[in-house]
Symmetry: C2
Subunit: 359 residues, 2 copies
């Protein structure tokens, strides 16, 4: 059995403690500098404040000031940060990670590099610590369900297949099913994009609600269920946007050199399926679809980190630059470009259906 140190105590990072602990590993959960309240609660034996579950017997909590202690003897590190914590992680944590640790990253997103390329985080991390092995996790996984030992199936991917297999051996259980892969670009690109496109699909939910006269934040809760509050949701436009999302994800994955076929699987369609059903991105897209402006929506969702906004802004900018360089056709990404206009150019939601589909 090994020592597994999770850095970042957000919901997804924290949930990784469950399978590691079930496999008999000693699990250490280290809060980021923003996570002191979470760590204090867990140290005091209270429920994890956002995951709302007890960590007694699952993991021991550490403040970020105790990071060195938490790293002592660790064989496996979980990079449990959101995309907004990547710079902090790269500057403060990556350099002090012990040699030979295996790093399992759950961070979703992509970087727009200075040379106008779009980079996935595991490759970015590896460029900073080429001596370490990085394995990235991607696929449909609601953190509560993983922690509650629900059947969950994801990809683990990395350049070094032995490292991938070691990660699988560390975390795989009879409820947490891991498919190994070396196609990090396909997997990570898909799982980053699914946050963007979950907003796209949710636009249809909001548009349908708007027709029923709902134009404000009525009924938007943490656990909003699919469809309108009257439980009479409208699915055809959602499905059309779901399909368009998969199509654009496939095009982008192939443009970046990954296997587009994987989009019809766990990292693309499967992950989008889960992401559409609830959570912050669903709320974002629904409210925009209802006709609220992005500044209004931000106010309603204050305090919620919106990975979707970051990834849409970044990918749209990448596509614009690639288009200027003759390397991309913006007409192949009409939904992505429209989402960018809604968020960054105050465009009203107006889906150009004729631009969708495979031509």
């Amino acid at each position: 059995m090994s020592i597994v140190t999770i850095i970042g105590s957000g919901m997804m990072g924290s949930a990784m403690a469950r399978p590691a602990s079930d496999n008999g590993h000693e699990v250490r959960l280290v809060g980021s500098p923003l996570d002191d309240k979470i760590i204090a609660a867990v140290k005091a034996g209270q429920n994890h404040p956002t995951l709302k579950r007890s960590f007694e017997g699952v993991a021991k909590a550490y403040y970020i000031t105790e990071l060195k202690q938490a790293l002592e003897g660790a064989e496996v590190i979980v990079a449990g940060i959101s995309s907004f914590g990547v710079d902090w992680f790269t500057e403060n944590v990556l350099p002090i990670l012990p040699k030979n640790v295996l790093v399992v990253s759950i961070t979703k997103g992509m970087r727009l590099e200075d040379d106008d390329t779009l980079n996935v985080f595991p490759h970015y991390f590896a460029s900073k610590r080429p001596d370490l092995n990085f394995v990235a996790v991607g696929g449909p996984c609601i953190c509560f369900e993983l922690f509650d030992r629900r059947h969950t199936m994801v990809y683990y991917c990395g350049k070094n297949i032995d490292a991938v297999k070691k990660a699988k051996a560390t975390f795989g259980t009879n409820y947490y099913h891991i498919v190994p892969s070396t196609d990090t670009i396909a997997v990570e690109c898909s799982v980053a994009l699914k946050n963007a496109y979950a907003m796209g699909v949710s636009l249809a939910v909001g548009l349908a609600e708007r027709e029923k006269g709902i134009t404000d934040a009525t009924g938007i809760t943490d656990n909003c269920v699919p469809g309108a509050p009257d439980l009479n949701p409208i699915y055809n436009p959602q499905a059309a946007l779901f399909a368009q999302s998969c199509l654009e994800m496939r095009r982008l994955v192939e443009m970046l050199g990954g296997n587009g076929g994987l989009v019809a699987g766990l990292p693309g369609a499967g992950d989008l399926y889960v992401t559409v059903f609830g959570g912050r991105t669903r709320r974002l897209g629904t409210l925009l679809g209802r006709g609220m402006s992005y500044p209004q929506v931000k106010e309603v969702l204050s305090g919620v980190t919106l990975e979707a906004v970051a990834i849409i802004t970044r990918v749209a900018e990448f596509l614009r630059r690639a288009s200027k360089a003759g390397k991309a056709d913006l007409k192949k990404f009409p939904l992505m470009m429209h989402m960018d206009s809604i968020l960054n150019a105050a465009s009203p939601v107006a889906l150009d259906w004729d631009s969708f589909g495979e031509f």
Copy 2:
């Protein structure tokens, strides 16, 4: 403007009347021999009994005994029958269709031919009437929503692209968005399989409900909403099965010679997305997942045609024969084969997660 004659007045066939009528065509709705009650109601100016909408100003109703009259002057025919009506349609209707009509088929399903090949219906129809052009409709479309003019996006496909374009011109509106394609195999195979795999995804819903103690038909209504009756659904296993479904659909489409890439689009993932949310297949999978046997479920759902059962039985048999002939590897279709065992060999639901994924 043309005369459009819809043969078969089930919900989907009937719903096609709306866009045709909106485009100014004269629409005639002909009931099959099983549809007399529907036709009587529509003729009497009452709501269509299953679609629950008025057809006044949309279409004129005809009994099957009035078929010849309904075909007079028709340029476009809609084959509006379910897979269970294919033999009747082939024997009684196809032979008397006027020369030069365009046939638009909404029938979903596949035929297992005597030579052990799996055939899509438009190709089967064309083999009986090679002088006619057949165009098949596939993609996510809930009939109520199409009739209510909700944004809906589907593929129209056929060998003759001019016929496809004529069909698009006949039915396409500013809410009914049609993507033309010549890949009939990919589209029709995907849309047939989505009925099968919607049962597969729904198994996870029932399994989760079973854990909460629900082992009977509690709460199963016509419009059951996604997730458990307590609105606290479990999504990770659903998403894993959704992804596995897409994977197996892609494998089968490619095996039959279609473009597997389309599965990550309208006919595969998009159509599955819509089908999972409700209706007969959802109820079938949910009840099986709760632990009811197929005979018990049949009793609960009596009177409901179960396309899923037909397609699973047929595809599994096709795969077994192909496997014996060395042309298929059953291990590539573990979910399909398990669904067949549940339905046809009284196997309990027991998902073999380790057999899933892309290897």
